[in-house]
């Protein structure tokens, strides 16, 4: 994963929690001290928790291209490792959301005929994502066995 992916994740956390924190502060200001201090404190704690979780997730994401299959690893609480043979790939998506685009990132997702397959590689540099997609498409074509 590109280190920029971590920046992007942090930005998302900031974007989500900043208004919440602002709102909590506003409530505190409006209703005045006392127990209301807990509200922004709680929001801040949640933000930190989210930050820690995201950091863990960012660290566990990983993928490896082997000779015949692609291995994707992910998850902090639930650790997952998926092995997807190139020949089974049906289509490869490259998507980029607004935040991803701002950071020049993209997500590569593989689909097979099985609904349960979840091989998603987020936070690749745009150019890397395109290269990976083309590489996968090429080997997939060579080994295609479909169903």
């Amino acid at each position: 994963m590109s280190p920029r992916f971590w920046m992007a994740r942090q930005t998302v956390i900031a974007l989500v929690f900043a208004p919440l924190l602002g709102g909590a502060l506003a409530v505190m200001a409006a209703l005045g001290g006392g127990g209301w201090v807990l509200l922004p404190a709680g929001v801040a704690a949640l933000a930190v928790l989210q930050w820690v979780i995201e950091l863990g997730r960012y660290r566990t994401w990983g993928y490896a291209e082997r000779e015949d299959d692609l291995i994707v690893r992910r998850g902090l609480m639930f650790r997952r490792v998926s092995v997807v043979p190139y020949g089974r790939m049906q289509l490869i998506d490259v998507t980029a959301g607004p935040v991803d685009r701002a950071f020049g990132l993209a997500t590569v997702q593989l689909h097979t005929a099985a609904a349960a397959t979840d091989a998603r590689i987020p936070g690749l540099l745009r150019a890397d994502a395109d290269l990976l997609r083309d590489r996968l498409a090429a080997v997939g074509e060579a080994e295609a066995t479909g169903l």
Binding site: P85, A113, A115, T117, L147
Partner: protein, 461 residues
Amino acid sequence: MSDAALPVGTSWRRLHPLSPLVRFARIVVGLIVVAVPTLEAARGGAAGRGRSLTTSLIVWAALLGLSMIGGVVSWLVTRWRIGDGDLQIETGLIRRQSIRIPLARIQAVDIVAPLLGRILGLAEVRVVSAGRGGEHGRLAYLTAAEATAARARLLALAHGLAAETPEPPAQPLAVVDNLRLVLALTLRAGIAVPLLLMIAAAVVLIVAPRAGAIVLSTCLPILFTSAVTIARTFNEEFEFSVSEAGDGLRLDRGLLQRRHETIPFGRIQALRVVQPLLWRPAGWLRLEVDVARQHGAQQSRDDPQRVARTLVPVAPRAEVLALLGRVFAEAGVEQPPGAKPPRRAMLKAPLSYHFLAAWHGARYACARTGRLQAATVVVPLHKVQSVRLKRGPVQRMLGLASVHVDTAGQRWQASMRCRDEGEAEAWLWDISAKARLARRHSSPGSRQRAAPPGVAGPVIA
């Protein structure tokens, strides 16, 4: 029909003239069911106000007439033929629709005969084709003879044979005894438990009438639902027989509506052997099949793939295992030593630990799960789409991990739950490697099981 002398389907022709009657019978019956009480209420409630009765009568009659006219028009504008390498169906009055199903992509041709159709000697031909968003052609209805002829022709052409090739002879594999089916269905937990409740309630009723009445009235709806389920299942699986033809398995079943289905061997993604709790003393098993289908496709009520999932509703162990062996050569459900997960898995899965087991060989991966009913999923390794290792927080604490083997099927994956961590990791690589080998060995064409000479395997997309 003027061109009756020609082989079925070579020229444009209409469906059978009685089709609208069969097709819209359900709507008509529904309308009548709704209309009669309404009319009754109108008559009873508005005695003397004759006009409202007449008005509603006219409205209902108009609805009835419209649906009939709709049926006749749709029959008038629908025609079909087999030619130029595809099955062509043209239909629609306002929105003309022309459906072309390439014969090479036909996966299966099923014949379905609803009750009214059977009385009139009519049957529907359903064509299941491969591929993303594949068209599913329906010819409703043809005469029974025409339907059989059309099916033989479609299958022959789909396999690249001469159009006049007759259907390959089917070799019967198993027939399910109706009496056993009824017994087995009654013993399924969903039905047996309410039934026992009912008996208990009846006992209470005798002992203490007031309390009994309450219990009984609570049980009745549950019992009613179960009765409906059992009746429906019985109706679907009556006179169930499985036979093997060159291109796949043939299923014949149904009480009111007879179905003749084909499941090509190449489309079978996984088999599952199920044993509900109460079947254990009798030693009965149920064999189910999972076939390839595009996920996310619409799940229509009459979808042939939705219903073609039971291979044998109930049979003694030996029979089921023999059939399993016919479909997946050398596959078995005998657990080799070491199939059980480690003892500490009991902490993670206390309710299903007694059934948990998983093993794999050179050609198949098997996994057994279940709390009350044991279910063993057998996945042929050459059908594996991906292999996944999963470790939840509790599993990590216990040093356990689960391995999931995915196929293109809709229903199940082989879930090897709660294995030892190291073993699971080793299996992940081992199964991927074996699956790769299995894929190599089953190059397209050799994927079919020994087909009789002269019958090529069906084309798999």
